[in-house]
């Protein structure tokens, strides 16, 4: 480097990290290579690059030795179990603090606002199998008095929560709706009982229940 006095500390640091040979003095480090006119300089490895490489190698070795020697501690299974346990405790704490939220209210709702809310979700999620008027298709007819898994708020809520018969019935909806929505939905389903759909599916199920 020429003219050292003029150079700030920062510049010096940068220079020490790159060690790039000065432009204009490149002849000093020019190799005698010539490939189709391409010349090659022989600049030293930039120190920041070299140390970076060393550091990543050190990290790699450290990381691997760590997880290999403590493979029990760093296993996916263990990580998963811890995550589930933590989740469980959080949920239990929340349940303890807000017991009223976890009582699935099985009271039949009959006010228009609740039924409209129930209808909205029914038309978004349920009509693919039960038809908009509850007449049934893939799923059973909801308007007659025959029930595969039982009628009434309690049973319908249970079916919504846990799903229908394995491999045949519907999926569990408990992850999609909260308790209020489930109550509205079940109430809406009951409001369909006794109506006359356009294409009623033949009755299924041996449990007889009617809202009358």
């Amino acid at each position: 480097m020429s003219d050292q006095k003029q150079i700030s500390g920062w510049k010096k640091f940068l220079q020490s990290m790159t060690k790039a040979h000065e432009l204009g003095k490149e002849e000093e480090i020019m190799t005698d290579h010539d490939y189709d006119g391409i010349k090659e300089l022989d600049n030293v490895l930039p120190p920041w690059w070299k140390y970076g490489f060393y550091i990543t190698i050190a990290i790699g070795i450290f990381y691997y030795v760590q997880v290999f020697t403590n493979s029990e501690e760093y296993s996916q299974e263990k990580e998963y179990a811890a995550e589930v346990e933590k989740g469980k405790q959080e949920v239990e704490a929340y349940k303890a603090a807000n017991p009223e939220l976890f009582k699935l209210d099985a009271t039949l709702l009959t006010d228009d606002a609740s039924l409209a809310a129930g209808q909205k979700n029914f038309e978004a999620y349920c009509v693919a199998c039960h038809m908009a008027d509850g007449g049934g298709g893939i799923g059973p007819n909801l308007t007659d008095d025959h029930w595969i898994l039982g009628g009434g708020m309690e049973n319908i809520l249970k079916t919504l929560n846990e799903g229908g018969r394995a491999g045949k019935g519907m999926i569990s909806w408990k992850n999609t709706f909260n308790n209020d929505e489930l109550q509205q939905l079940a109430s809406y389903v009951i409001s369909l009982n006794g109506t006359t759909p356009a294409n009623p599916k033949a009755a299924e199920g041996d449990i007889i229940w009617s809202k009358q």
Partner: protein, 714 residues
């Protein structure tokens, strides 16, 4: 010293250049169609050969092997002759290489839309094409080695080192990942199953990125950047260190595509640590490229070609930093299966590969047609359109990836998922998909400008098919000349030894990871209740493969609370022992299906395939009406079961002899269960649905992930 006169073969370079442009436009156009299908899933309604699952691999294959492949050959054929001071070894081999490669691309363009696929990512092409690729690659290899051996330049330059590494490693990867057992002329089964297949596949997939999309292009960089900038390469010793460290380390990093899966953790962690160690070897290339421009930055402002190179190399640096970051398990848990990965690979594809190719094409056009570029202004416009295109492509996908990952994982305080319905996480990121398509459009528009510019340039110039050159022949070197020669310089004269050392360097990592996994049983804990697929399920699985379902649906539930809550018990290594090939997938455009068996009833699946939006409003899945109208082909069922037996699947003699009979029985059962729905009876009651493809697919889907439930009951 008597100089010899000879001619460089420019014609072959010109052919590859034209092919690059042509396939570039085609590949990007297919990419744009694929992007539009996210926004308009009904765009190509009911056309089986244009369905998303079939043209997504068409896009990837076209861009990787047709566009980037041809661009690499273009650059290699141009630079190699000049770096070795000789014409290519054989014009005939050059021509066979060119036409063979184009035929392979055409074969891919025909077979992939027809659903002829092995399902393994970037290796989808079926076995006859795999053999053709091998043969053409060997032709290219003979041509390259022959050229090196008859050179008039004593040492081989760094670009040639990278070309050699490409030649060898791609051959090794391609052969070992495509070992498959043919069943018919266009159907085969991978010889590896489940976890083993996954590791071999991602050893291949990751190193296709390394040795098809990176090393050859680094070689091109080492020739074209100093050539265009007329500056010396920054550091010879950096090129030595980063070359050897890059090829040695890259091979090990494949398992970072399989973090948090059923792959044994010793292998996963190797993938992580080698990815971290890969940052600086990759960046060595970036530094050497960018610092070669030291003292030439005024030229960069002037010359569009150098602008393309600068953005390309910068994009390379970004991608090669992001890759290792994604290899940390913490970040991988977020990014895996999301659009973040798609954004990441497109920084590499659009910036590094696309812009390197564009810069080289502009520069070569002026050399090949001996004239100035038709319009520098258009090239500049292309540069800005492309750069904006990259930003509009990648940034929204980063947002989409993070958004979706966060939505997948979020719990309500009561322990339920906030977004229990997967679809909500898709509709949320629709605007991002629109921006991505817009970005892709910009990029394609820029590339079309390049095509126009090159055509105009070619029309104005006159092509020189054989360019005269002269160089002195190589003489035997005297001992005095080599006194004090460094080791690497000595090695650069011994090309056979050099090649051999490259083979060693790239063989170690793969061997250390793959051989133990194939031979040590404890890597894959056995689950006794896991049984082979029935003949009907096997046929259904082949339909799943044919339709490319694994492009959007994973079959690998990671051990996270949120995934187990959403999908069911996380996936175990022992569940996949009969999966030839594995179908874990690498992107979730739709939900994971590993535990979909028994979740819905048969009618739901039937309606879902007929029109996904009837069962899942807002879904962006294609419709599959042909599954309901096309008869299931059972002519090969026995052969398929037989092939499975050859691969070691324990079918009984009875199952083998009565395969079709068993298949028809199971099909009839499904048809009977479909009759629960009066709508089905009304519309399809007399359609003999038990003979259609749909029942096989339903059988397979209903089987998925159910075997371990039997164990739980035992």
């Amino acid at each position: 010293m008597e100089k010899e006169q000879f001619y460089y073969d420019n014609k072959i370079v010109k052919m590859f250049l034209i092919a690059t442009i042509l396939w570039g436009v085609v590949g990007m156009l297919v990419g744009l169609i694929v992007a539009l299908l996210f926004i308009f899933p009904n765009l190509l309604e009911g056309i089986s050969w244009l369905s998303f699952g079939r043209i997504r691999p068409l896009h990837t294959n076209a861009v990787i092997f047709a566009f980037v492949g041809n661009s690499i050959f273009m650059g290699i054929y141009y630079s190699m002759q000049r770096l070795l001071k000789t014409r290519m070894f054989s014009d005939t081999l050059s021509k066979i290489h060119f036409w063979g490669w184009q035929l392979i691309i055409v074969a891919a363009a025909i077979t992939l839309p027809l659903g002829i696929t092995s399902s393994k990512e970037y290796a989808e092409l079926e076995w006859p094409i795999d053999i053709a690729i091998t043969l053409i690659w060997v032709v290219m290899g003979i041509n390259m080695i022959g050229t090196i051996l008859k050179r008039r330049q004593r040492h081989i330059y760094v670009a040639i080192w990278f070309y050699l590494a490409t030649l060898i490693t791609v051959a090794v990867l391609h052969i070992f990942n495509n070992l498959e057992l043919p069943v018919t002329g266009f159907k085969s089964y991978s010889i590896y199953a489940g976890v083993q297949d996954a590791l071999v596949q991602w050893w291949y997939g990751h190193n296709a990125v390394a040795f098809f999309l990176t090393t050859p292009v680094l070689g091109l960089m080492y020739y074209f950047v100093p050539k265009v900038a007329n500056r010396p390469v920054y550091s010879y010793r950096l090129s030595i260190i980063h070359f050897w460290s890059l090829i040695f380390i890259y091979i090990w990093a494949g398992p970072h595509h399989l973090l948090y899966t059923a792959l044994p953790e010793w292998a996963q962690n190797l993938g992580t640590v080698f990815s971290v160690m890969l940052i600086f070897p990759s960046w060595g290339g970036m530094i050497n490229g960018l610092l070669t421009l030291r003292g030439a930055w005024d030229k960069v402002r002037e010359d569009p070609v150098l602008k393309f190179f600068v953005v390309a190399i910068t994009g390379y640096g970004m991608s090669t930093f992001e890759g290792p970051m994604l290899s940390f398990k913490t970040l991988n848990a977020i990014g895996h299966y999301t659009d973040w990965i798609v954004g990441h690979v497109h920084i590499g594809a659009l910036a590094w590969n696309g812009f390197m190719a564009a810069g080289i094409i502009y520069w070569l056009a002026t050399k090949l047609w001996k004239t100035d570029l038709y319009s520098k202004k258009l090239a500049n416009i292309h540069f800005w359109l492309g750069t904006l295109g990259i930003l509009f492509y990648a940034l929204p996908l980063y947002v989409a990836g993070f958004t979706q990952a966060a939505m997948w994982k979020q719990f309500n305080p009561d322990g339920t998922l906030v977004y229990g319905n997967f679809l909500e996480t898709v509709t949320q990121i629709m605007p991002m998909y629109m921006m991505r398509a817009f970005g892709g459009t910009l990029y394609l528009a820029g590339f079309i400008l390049l095509a126009y510019n090159v055509i105009k340039t070619a029309k104005a110039g006159s092509v020189v098919e054989d360019e005269l050159a002269e160089a002195a022949p190589l003489k035997k070197i005297s001992p005095a000349r080599v006194a004090g020669e460094g080791f690497h310089s000595w090695l650069e004269r011994r090309t056979i030894l050099f090649t051999f050392l490259v083979v060693i360097a790239i063989a170690i990592g793969g061997a250390v990871e793959i051989i133990p996994l194939l031979t040590v049983d404890s890597n894959i804990p056995k689950i006794t209740s896991v049984k082979p697929y029935t003949p009907l399920e096997l046929e259904g699985r082949d339909i799943y493969i044919r339709e490319g379902c694994n492009n959007c649906h994973s079959q690998m539930i990671r051990p996270f609370r949120s995934e187990v809550e959403r999908y069911g018990e996380y996936s175990k290594a022992g569940e996949f022992v009969y999966d030839f090939p594995f179908l874990w997938g690498s992107k979730r455009t739709g939900p994971d299906v590993h535990r979909v068996g028994g979740k819905y009833n048969d009618n739901w699946h039937f309606n879902h395939m007929l029109d996904p939006r009837t069962t899942s409003p807002g879904s962006i899945m294609p419709q599959y009406p042909w599954l309901i109208t096309d008869d299931l082909d059972v002519s090969q069922t026995v052969n398929k079961v037989n092939a499975m037996v050859t691969l070691g699947v324990p079918y009984t003699q009875f199952e083998l002899d009565k395969a079709v009979y068993l298949l028809q029985n199971q099909a009839k059962e499904i048809e009977n269960s479909l009759r629960q729905d009066p709508e089905f009876v009304k519309n399809y009651g007399n359609s003999e649905i038990e003979k259609k493809e749909i029942v096989a697919l339903i059988a397979y889907l209903q089987r998925l992930g159910t075997d371990i439930k039997a164990e739980a009951e035992e």
